[in-house]
């Protein structure tokens, strides 16, 4: 029996051991105790609920959202620290524990991190949290000096009494400030006075990622911990008929074999390798259920039927598109299609859970601490008040970790191994074949041009799967999934000047589970719209930029970004021999984006993308450097998916099992990227997702410019161009 050697120093990976940067608030324990969150008030004083200040001025900002690489942790800290007038070099962060949020009636607000909302829906109250803390610190100093607070100024964690020149550090008055009442009326700074917000400061969470010391959920180690490997029925909707635990019980390290709900079995062992090895040998008989004959072909036919079925959910319409199409000088029609896509987060799904009677503790990478807590409680029918959640940083999320399937599984397993923590890890194969895929869709577009080549009628009919129907039906609007029309409703579409418009969808829900894939429906909707607009432009004999300008007269913000990016890309200026340009714009998640791609196609028909010039107007950018990085990253993610990404279905199951068959972008696939942060101020737009939508259409349109051929289905690998 293998003994686990636990390296105590590496147990929790505190930043204190590493130096520099950021502490998650976890202390290196003196004893082999559980992974514990820092006890508030060890030495620090809570000045309001968002800020803890230590005597040495170390300023801990509390973070309610999740960090999955998108930089929200640092951004939120910037928002608080600026209003707090804190010395940025003294700022650290700690996660709010979901059970704390629950106990304080969600005083820290929404913990869900998705929809590119982490910053933009937090700005008001977190800034107020910082500002209120500053007011309390100043008041405490003023009281100590017996002077009016109005004569005191705060900057860089120091309060100065203007007239006498006396100074006090935040750390010196924090304890007194903590006793004061939180002010109700909290004015915020004018953006022109920001010193930290809007600056490309270094991330707070980098140092620990450079030397292996950051503990991801998959790395959690606890005393007495066991490991579990899980197998779910390969066919969605199928169940476990039987399994023969006796056959593997004697294998090395095996502790037990447990059912997990109706559709899965887990082997629990001393190490995950032992668990996985035994699981691979466990005889399981599946009842594959009624979907075992579903295939790509049956799905494609089913989805296609939504294109001309009489019933369609309406997104928006204006004018009379049927009449306008009938009377148009020229019409263009095309059908596009995109496949299922797995998130393929870098860290496979995993969760560690410990169940003791009616109490439960979990260690988890989640995009929503509240949801993970609620899910754990619901999975084993205990009170939410009895659940503790330890949030880690995520080895990427992309929307996959907003689902709680793996949380529920871990808790159900742990309940069958009472009193012992059990870490459940999905193999990559399990992760690839049991995702919540980007939905499969097709789109039929019809456009009508007038005699001057202007677009006067546009009908886009989507067909395919609704995410909300699968995942959150209570968020549907009278049975309509409005999310399916992302980018195309009146508040997002950049072409509202087209007088006759209809956007609708024939919903066709397959048995494949679908979910929110970074960018969600903007990804394929932007391909459909922006490539078709390009088709129309060429049919009208117009330059694609000019053609768009003519119909963007009602959308100045979309147009401004498009024009800016076109200018930066040198649209219209001469290009080297064989290089061609494509252009695209999209509005989504509160922001406006555009991109120009420069490509060439060689004699063998292979595509090479030389450069992408892109821009985002997100209003205010809390950290422009990070926004640029997210743009670059989103292109690797989106372009890679368009080049290679596809999950296929055969015999009711997903075929691709690993990165060898589900290819993603690597270093050599990513072109030169010029990312422009065109923050125009005045509003807060999302950043993590909006730009992903603009790279693929720009490339596809450039491909057309280079070859005269339209590629209307993804991935590109099926066309032999990559």
């Amino acid at each position: 029996m293998t003994k686990l050697k636990l390296d105590r120093r590496r147990f929790l990976g505190s930043a204190a051991a590493v130096g520099g940067g950021f502490a998650l608030g976890w202390t290196v324990p003196g004893t082999l105790e559980a992974f514990a969150q820092k006890q508030v008030g060890d030495a620090g004083s809570e000045v309001g609920i968002w800020v803890v200040i230590h005597p040495d001025d170390t300023t801990v900002v509390r973070i309610a959202r999740s960090e999955m690489g998108q930089g929200t942790l640092t951004g939120l800290a910037q928002l608080v620290a600026d209003e707090l007038d804190a010395d940025w070099s003294k700022v650290r962060t700690e996660f709010v524990a979901p059970e704390e949020n629950l106990a304080k009636k969600r005083a820290w607000g929404d913990m869900s991190t998705g929809g590119s909302r982490g910053i933009r829906t937090s700005v008001d109250y977190v800034r107020k949290g910082g500002a209120a803390a500053r007011m309390m610190l100043v008041a405490a100093a003023a009281q100590q000096w017996r002077v009016p607070a109005g004569e005191c100024v705060a900057a860089d964690s120091v309060i100065t009494h203007a007239t006498s020149g006396r100074k006090l550090r935040y750390g010196q008055v924090a304890a007194a400030a903590a006793k004061l009442e939180t002010p109700k009326d909290v004015p915020l700074k004018d953006p022109k006075d920001w010193k930290i917000i809007g600056k490309g400061v270094k991330r707070l969470d980098t140092a620990e990622k450079l030397n292996g010391s950051l503990v991801y959920a998959i790395d959690v180690k606890l005393p007495g911990m066991l490991n579990a490997a899980i197998a779910q029925c390969p066919v969605f909707g199928g169940t476990v008929k039987s399994f023969d635990a006796a056959k593997i019980k004697a294998m090395p390290g095996v502790h037990s074999v447990v059912p997990v709900g109706e559709n899965a079995v887990a082997v629990v062992a001393d190490t995950w390798w032992h668990a996985k090895t035994a699981l691979d040998k466990l005889p399981i008989t599946w009842d594959e259920g009624e979907h075992a004959t579903v295939s790509d072909a049956t799905i494609a036919e089913f989805v296609k039927s939504g294109l001309d079925g009489p019933q369609a959910a309406l997104g928006q319409q204006q004018g009379d598109v049927d009449a306008a199409l009938a009377g148009a000088a020229k019409t263009v029609e095309a059908v596009y299609g995109t496949p299922f896509l797995n998130h393929a987060t870098m860290e496979p799904m995993n969760c560690t859970a410990k169940v003791d009677g009616d109490k439960c503790e979990i260690w988890v990478a989640t995009q929503n601490g509240d949801a993970a807590l609620a899910a754990a409680a619901e999975a084993i029918k205990i009170k939410p008040e009895n659940v503790k959640v330890h949030k880690t940083l995520l080895g990427s999320g992309f929307g996959r970790r907003g689902m709680t399937d793996y949380v529920r599984q871990a808790v159900v397993i742990a309940k069958q191994v009472p009193g012992k923590p059990v870490k459940m890890i999905w193999s990559r194969e399990e992760d690839m074949q049991h995702g919540f895929y980007r939905p499969i869709t097709q789109c039929q577009l019809k456009g009508g041009l007038d005699a001057d080549g202007k677009l006067v009628a546009l009908h886009a009919r989507l067909a395919g799967q609704s995410i909300l129907a699968s995942v959150a039906p209570s968020r549907m609007d009278n049975g309509v999934d409005k999310l399916a029309f992302q980018g195309w409703l009146a508040d997002e579409l950049g072409y509202m000047a087209v007088p006759n418009l209809r956007i609708d969808m024939g919903v066709r829900n397959t048995h494949v589970p679908v979910g929110f894939w970074r960018g969600v429906n903007h990804n394929q909707n932007a391909v459909y719209m922006e490539c078709f607009i390009d088709e129309l432009a060429h049919a009208a004999g117009k330059d694609p930029l000019e053609f768009r300008r003519a119909i963007m007269t009602k959308n100045p913000k979309h147009l401004a970004v498009l024009n800016a990016v076109a200018e930066k890309a040198g649209w219209g200026t001469p290009l080297p021999e064989g290089v061609h340009r494509g252009i695209c714009q999209n509005g989504g998640f509160g922001s406006y984006c555009a991109a120009v791609a420069e490509v060439s196609v060689d004699a063998k028909g292979k595509l090479k993308v030389h450069r992408i010039v892109a821009g985002i107007d997100c209003g205010y950018a809390v950290n422009p450097e990070q926004v640029a990085r997210q743009m670059e990253g989103s292109f690797a993610f989106g372009l890679g998916a368009s080049y290679f990404g596809r999950n296929t279905v055969k015999d009711g199951r997903i075929v691709e099992a690993n990165f060898d068959t589900y290819e993603v972008a690597r270093m050599a696939d990513v072109p030169k990227i010029e990312a422009h942060v065109l923050a125009s101020g005045g509003f807060w737009g999302g950043v993590g997702e909006p730009t992903i939508a603009v790279c693929t259409p720009a490339v596809l349109n450039a491909y057309f410019a280079a070859t005269g051929k339209r590629l209307r289905t993804l991935p590109l690998s099926q066309h032999g161009v990559v």
Binding site: G115, A377, S474, G479, L483, G515
Partner: protein, 178 residues
């Protein structure tokens, strides 16, 4: 052609959105020359106060006697356990005649009504309800003496990850927490 409509228990139940059952129509059924008739929707008041009024009239319930038990937080709101107990001897002379449930943030605030009488023995109901978003649930007990008693509980629906609420339009951005 074998239908590929999701008929797993999970997919089927979740696909039953309000009013639009045709969204689940299998393709071969959709090929009608004319669209099938749409079931007319009964006009129900959307405003919670109006919904309550439509059931109990102008009566103003008093807080008390009713204990509404439900979790403070739920993941999706799709199926939340609710239990209501009313402190009543349930005799011929003194009993609960009905228990009404309302959800002030649902598109249809009136959730359920249960008729009771002395033969019910105990004034208790338990059920699962669907909640569209974080909101308050109100339980109102109607008594044989004509009085109304109530209890209210707040519930938070945690799921929000990656759902880009269409309530947030371009350029609007900030929203306050619950």
């Amino acid at each position: 052609m074998r239908g590929t409509r999701s008929r797993t228990r999970r997919g089927f139940l979740r696909g039953l959105g309000l009013g639009a059952a045709w969204l689940l129509a299998a393709p071969w059924r959709a090929r009608a020359a004319t669209p099938p008739p749409v079931t007319p929707r009964i006009e129900v008041p959307k405003d919670p106060a109006a919904a309550i009024k439509s059931v109990i009239g102008d009566a103003k319930p008093t807080k008390g006697k009713v204990a509404l038990d439900m979790p403070y937080i739920t993941e999706t709101g799709t199926s939340v356990s609710v239990a209501v107990k009313v402190d009543s001897p349930m005799t011929e002379a003194d009993h609960v005649t009905a228990i009404h449930l309302f959800a002030d943030g649902n598109p249809v605030p009136r959730v359920a009504s249960y008729q009771l009488g002395p033969r019910a023995g105990r004034a208790e109901v338990a059920t699962r309800i669907r909640l569209a978003r974080s909101q308050r649930v109100i339980a109102i007990a109607q008594m044989s003496d004509g009085r109304f008693w109530s209890d209210t509980r707040e519930i938070n629906v945690a799921q929000g990850a990656c759902v880009d609420d269409t309530e947030g339009t371009l350029g609007s951005g900030s929203r306050s927490p619950l």
